[in-house]
Symmetry: C2
DNA sequence: TAGTGGTCTAGACCACACC
DNA sequence: GTGTGGTCTAGACCACTAG
């Protein structure tokens, strides 16, 4: 993956200040010479950075660094990532409190999201995820049992995604999410320590394996003051 | 843009049921013959659909249709769109109530988001946007005056984005957003008709022109029960 | 082994921006 | 005109999947 190597190299140069912020990056021809590759490969490397909102490309003009100055005290997740909560909190201690765990027949709605029949049993669990012992999010999850064998309370106390990738060799390919605000329910208040008039950020998600099969339908209800989503959007040319 | 034409054609075929949902799409070689183009072009067309979550590609296996079954009573905006509220509501009547409109010196924070000096004046306006006369969202917006000349209350009662594109010939290239939940403020309650313990979905946005220049910093506070964001995320290979 | 998509090349022509 | 990025070609080799 030469284009990824080049993309990474240029990203590091931008982050380290090697390229001046107010100057265009070297043109594609120069980068072709430097990296000894074809122009398509350089272009693709720069397109990766453009899709991440790091640079901005303008035909007839050049490629420019976009200064992003979004900082925040919130934990934020980009919409380009499909990650479990555990890996988002890289440096921090994530623990889970298992509220319930059972195997049930899915409702028609859950079955349709997972594209399974109502006869296919699903794991159904509810967890409160804590960061440094402070509750952050309450998650309710449905997973078809045939896809994810061996889910146990032990696994649920840690990371299901890590279990899937490391133990089962499954690869997570993507997800669809719906994001909205809701009032805290009684359960939210109790488990997340919210008071009556405080909201939650709800993320409803269907996640897919690299086989195209849906493996998870979940609701995550996040403390409003601990979590936000960030998105970068570049219009198609 | 041959790849976009091919991409659209295949999208239509999928939506119209021309390709069976449970069968792989024709392989790239067949599509090359059908569309009389190079394989790179077909591949790019299919990559567009994959990035939209419409198809799923698997090396050594084929390209498959992903059934998306997200429906909802909410108005939803995809994170791949930078659109004004007006154009989101295609079929509906959008009106605006102008709460305030003035020209001010930006705070240090606003200036930094727009990458301008604190000496550059900005338009500052607050609007309530209504759909079919029901209030949906309250927006507070800052725009550098030199970039967007001729903003008037008349423009603000309609669509600023349409004004920029049609009258000023400016092109909107992209945006960065932060999405979170908050409690409704007194102003939210009054203008959006919310009650005390109901939340809002807050979207903080910096939007960019195709010159890479930020032209807008805004907060939109949406009724929690009228709006949601949808995202599709496909992991990099 | 055969067939699929992923990457890469070395060119070409075009659209756009600036001078 | 000159230089930029956007698109496209015709081929090549590779990695992965299935039988």
């Amino acid at each position: 993956m030469k284009y990824q190597v080049i993309s990474e190299e240029i990203r590091h140069r931008i982050e380290s200040g090697f390229y001046p912020l107010d100057q265009p990056l070297p043109d594609e021809h120069s980068l072709v010479e430097e990296f000894s590759c074809s122009r398509m490969t350089v272009k693709r490397a720069l397109d990766v950075l453009a899709s991440e909102g790091i640079v901005f490309r303008k035909r007839g003009h050049g490629t420019f660094i976009v200064q992003s100055s979004f900082q925040s005290d919130y934990i934020h997740v980009g919409t380009n990532e499909t990650l479990g909560f555990t890996s988002l909190m890289k440096e921090k201690k994530v623990t889970s409190k298992l509220i319930s765990f059972d195997m049930i027949a899915p409702t028609a709605e859950v079955a349709s999201y997972l594209a399974i029949s109502e006869d296919t049993p699903v794991y159904h669990h509810i967890r409160v995820r804590c960061v440094d012992d402070n509750p952050h999010v309450i998650e309710e999850t449905y997973m078809p049992t045939p896809l994810i064998p061996g889910i146990t309370p032990t696994v649920l106390h840690n990371s299901v995604y890590a279990y899937m990738e490391k133990e089962l060799g499954l690869k997570i390919a993507g997800s669809r999410r719906r994001i909205r605000a809701e009032q805290a329910t009684a359960q939210d208040m109790e488990e997340l320590g919210l008071s009556e008039n405080e909201p939650v950020l709800v993320i409803e998600q269907v996640a897919y394996l690299n086989t195209g099969i849906a493996f998870e339908y979940s609701f995550a209800r996040h403390r409003f003051d601990k979590f936000e989503i960030t998105t970068v959007n570049i219009n198609a040319k």
